[in-house]
Symmetry: C2
Subunit: 160 residues, 2 copies
């Protein structure tokens, strides 16, 4: 399997949206500040998330992103698949052909592992994560940490 920062950032960003986009859209700049992810990198990820119809976009001033459906209907494996293309532990990518067009000795094992991982991640929704105490704590810590930065940005904008 491959699980890189791409998939991790995507889930982190979606969870950030889940926490903050209930009423108004959230800009990538806000997410970038709260989650310390590069803005340009987020743009790439959201381009894919939008194409996968995980988020909806509002352009222009006051715009940003919102989740496309209720948090209970968005699961982690969908998010990862949207940006990372596959959640597959096999060498062959499911083609059963990694040893001269035939099955290798361990194909079976990796298929089992892939299924295991897939079921686990598919069983967890953003709603589940929102409920977890440790995650709520991190989220509120992040808000406090960067509150002044985001406010500052807003004030500067207003003043100009």
């Amino acid at each position: 399997m491959r699980l890189t920062t791409k998939g991790r950032y995507a889930v982190t960003a979606m969870l950030d949206l889940a926490f903050h986009s209930e009423r108004t859209p959230v800009t990538l700049m806000d997410i970038a500040t709260r989650q310390t992810i590069s803005l340009s990198y987020l743009e790439q990820l959201f381009s894919r998330l939008r194409r996968a119809e995980m988020v909806v976009v509002v352009r222009g001033p006051g715009g940003g992103y919102q989740l496309s459906r209720p948090v209970a209907e968005i699961n982690i494996s969908d998010i990862i698949k949207a940006v990372d293309e596959q959640i597959d532990s096999t060498q062959c990518g499911g083609e059963t052909n990694c040893q001269n067009q035939k099955a290798c000795l361990t194909h079976d094992l990796w298929m089992g592992l892939s299924n295991q991982i897939h079921h686990y991640l598919a069983s967890i929704s953003l709603a589940d994560l929102l409920e977890r105490k440790p995650i709520q704590e991190v989220a509120s810590r992040q808000e406090q940490d960067v509150e002044h930065l985001i406010e500052l940005r807003r004030e500067v904008i207003v003043r100009l």
Copy 2:
């Protein structure tokens, strides 16, 4: 997490040993031929497997490798850990510090995934894999495919 050909090859090679090293040691050359893995690459992997005491070695002519304990006592996660160092899905490697020395939003989630994967792979032993029908079939197919190559090598050796 990272699961690369390194870990996959190691499991494949150990399974090959499980099938063939019951009586006499198996050379890396034989494994390389049956599993179509580069000999030099196998050497690297077995150097680690030996240090992790997963295999025992017999040097010199007629030598090779054997499993260090019964197949039922060798599980997949041990093999992968021996060559791949970690079976961890977190960014922080369990340090809980990937966002300015503090926990990121999704640390909890990746820890859960890591545990899930670990338990799954730890629950499977080489003995379990040996019993699986599809794996037995692949193993016997491989033996037939390369039998003549290995025999040929033996004959050439005898003749010299």
